[in-house]
Symmetry: C3
Subunit: 339 residues, 3 copies
């Protein structure tokens, strides 16, 4: 590809930010939109040039959609709902250039590969229990393929893991059983610039999860009889972290960049996120990663406390992506940022 | 009214934002200010042109105050402390143009009319129990006319509702008894533009309530002996919500606009807020509304993650109001936005 | 000193903000940086002109470092890690001009002087218990010299205070035993401008503390068996407060400015912070203060909801400091802001 004329994404997750940012950088913008979301995205025709209707999940990869995108000289910016929409296989054979490393998204979709990547990154990770029998402390159990915190549950004994799996109709083998680390959740939004050869920290946030973050408002005497907490991500809250922690935050980010280079060459292109907790001894423990833009960046559509350290203009993650594409084009490096 | 020269409001709630925004749009600004708040508002003479002293609550409607406001070609922008100051009757006979539909504020002041409006809007609402005897789950009990979360309490049995009412010296008939929905609180800040004929989402926030949000920091072993939680709103925290929820958020907003048009014509003019929780199944349940600017918009004096999707300049709700007045004037539509 | 050419600070806490702000105001910027943090600060050479290596804590006051700073016409902006690095004695004899009143930082470092200052300010403070025997409610016990919330613990009986002190190997005499006030935490970021003779409120925040703010996510049935909460500050979350509270917030700030003038003349120069909780009766109780920039201001590197009420440009606390130095220089008042 020599020239990028349009930036496209699927109507979900962080599409508004991505398209708004692409517009600021002078691209034509296209949203691939299921019929029932047109009512939302058509409100923003000030920065969305084209709404391409799709019938649903599978349809993104239809010949017609692909033809349209290629005709428009489009690059797709994938986000957290992307793999969900087109599937791992769809992603592999999608015949449109994607910003970022599509293989990294495949690793992200698998809880076991995910943990392997984190371990290789040299970041501190929670203990993983290979079987329910080993469980000797509070754990969080995540079904393989669970998304956005849905389908996670807590337990603290082998019996509890087994009985909860049973009542969900799943086998413990389909789950990853992770130590539940006590500390404050923190999500670090990075951008690995291949063109500028630098790792940027563009923001931090806290996920807002239903109903665990609502249960906290229920007084203790009433709380015990309520249902199990769930961890569905429903929003994000802004955060800055203690400045001295940033040394570690960048070390972690660079460890991840190195690990991805080794395990899924050419490595990370653009946005990724490390998701962890900070313990009271100031150790940061990372329990997940995202190999693409995260929804927490939606907070910073006019820049974040961190982005303003790098840029003298409002720089959302969405805009940063578009900027990188523009720079790659100018430097003849498009093949380095598209896969 | 042909021309608006000044924008006025009462010294409380979101007055700083309203007046700062009015100034940015080129209006003269007036604050109606009780003596004991002059110390605060006189710090901001960079955007407050005139401090009109009032003796207290009732005095806003004095002949003198009204004469002054009309002399200045003023429009009053009402906010959450407004009805509290001048009362429902005061509001009805106040002889100064108001931005917004004053009848809507009257509905807002009544817990039963409020729920009727929400039901008509077609939004999901919590179950309301007609009498304490029906209570079979955790409920929140709100005294009629309670403001800003003060005077709310929790209970989970008929006996508990009755005994807590008794100890507060009120009758259950004076209260609305609402199911306490478990989920994450979310407040949606809308602007219904009559001039542009569009519904904008200008921000989201979480209320910060004392002492319920403080009690959460008390470890469980100490928490049981502490007093009942209270729900007094003392601040606001920024939030963005999961993008796919926005489809529903706009549907809800439009449902409300329609309901208000039917029940209190001409309907909503300008800012309003739907106040709810998001359950873990991603359903949003709305338990209250505000028919005017809410204090959560004070977070976004330089624009919000949402306002930046619409505007290329910092657009607070206060400024948006002033902008709407200006546009209405230009289009000869002042009679559509003032009541 | 006639002219300030550079602004310097130590590589921690709010250094990025301070130096970014200094750069915006046209100063040369210098960071005093231990070897193991160069990796962080060298990422921001866009606004850091000079990295002066220091060997560690004591080395800031070395003859060599001082010579360099004076050669560069530098003013040091102290922050929360500053006293920690150079110690109270180091601070007193440091032969480089400091922005702010260095004696105030000495009072801040002592829990008892700290409470004396707050009492003189006329702000509402929590009850302090002179000995463990007096404890009759939930208290927070703070070791003398404890920093950033580390080493605090809760207790609610004389026996509990004594036994927890014993297990930490300290004497209750080395601690301050404070009533734990139930309410919502709030941190008020002030700037006392000596040049403009005005007190500004530039932001509010909530501290994010590990692991107390993480424990809240643990469901009640699991929470009882977990370890004691700790209060290590690991980040900050943005907040705006109920507008009517601002009357009191400014009264408190001015009370503090007066008290500091009396107890540690010439008083507060520039940034300080009052740290409290808002009870449900809307009383604000202050339990600590900081006599210099706080890390919560890192949230507002592009301005805060409050700073935008004063300034038409992005004004972080770091930039405000640099602006004050610039204005002091222009008015021949440098001796009023440097000590």
């Amino acid at each position: 590809m020599r020239e990028v004329r349009s930036i496209a994404t699927i109507a979900s997750h962080s599409a508004l930010q991505i398209l708004r940012g692409a517009k600021s950088e002078g691209f034509k913008t296209i949203v691939l939109c299921p019929r029932d979301r047109v009512s939302l995205y058509s409100r923003f025709l000030n920065f969305i040039d084209d709404i391409v209707l799709i019938d649903g999940m599978g349809d993104v990869c239809s010949d017609e959609a692909i033809r349209r995108l290629n005709e428009e000289g489009a690059v797709i910016v994938p986000h957290g709902s992307f793999v969900e929409y087109i599937g791992v296989e769809g992603l592999e054979r999608l015949d449109v250039p994607i910003f970022g490393n599509r293989r990294l998204m495949i690793w992200e979709a698998d809880q076991f590969l995910k943990m392997r990547m984190l371990e290789r990154s040299g970041v501190k990770v929670p203990r993983v229990f290979r079987s329910p029998e080993e469980v000797d402390r509070l754990v969080i159990v995540k079904m393989h393929g669970a998304k956005g915190g849905r389908g996670y549950f807590l337990a603290r004994s082998p019996e509890e893991v087994i009985s909860k799996c049973k009542s969900l109709g799943i086998s413990p083998d389909e789950c990853i059983i992770q130590e539940f680390v006590i500390g404050t959740p923190m999500y670090f939004q990075y951008f690995n610039s291949v063109v500028m050869k630098r790792l940027e920290l563009l923001g931090c946030d806290i996920r807002y999860e239903s109903d665990v973050d609502g249960l906290r408002r229920v007084p203790v005497p009433y709380a015990d009889s309520l249902s199990e907490p769930t961890f569905t991500v429903v929003g994000n809250i802004p955060l800055v972290v203690r400045e001295s922690l940033l040394v570690k935050v960048f070390e972690y980010g660079e460890g991840f960049v190195r690990a991805a280079e080794e395990l899924v060459p050419p490595g990370v292109i653009g946005p990724f996120c490390l998701e962890g907790v900070c313990r009271s001894d100031l150790e940061i423990v990372i329990f997940e990663f995202s190999g693409r833009i995260v929804a927490g960046t939606n907070l910073y559509i006019n820049g974040s406390p961190y982005s303003w350290l790098y840029f003298d203009e409002p720089m959302s993650m969405g805009r940063r992506i578009a900027r990188e594409i523009r720079m790659a084009e100018e430097h003849g490096m498009l093949d380095k940022v598209l896969t």
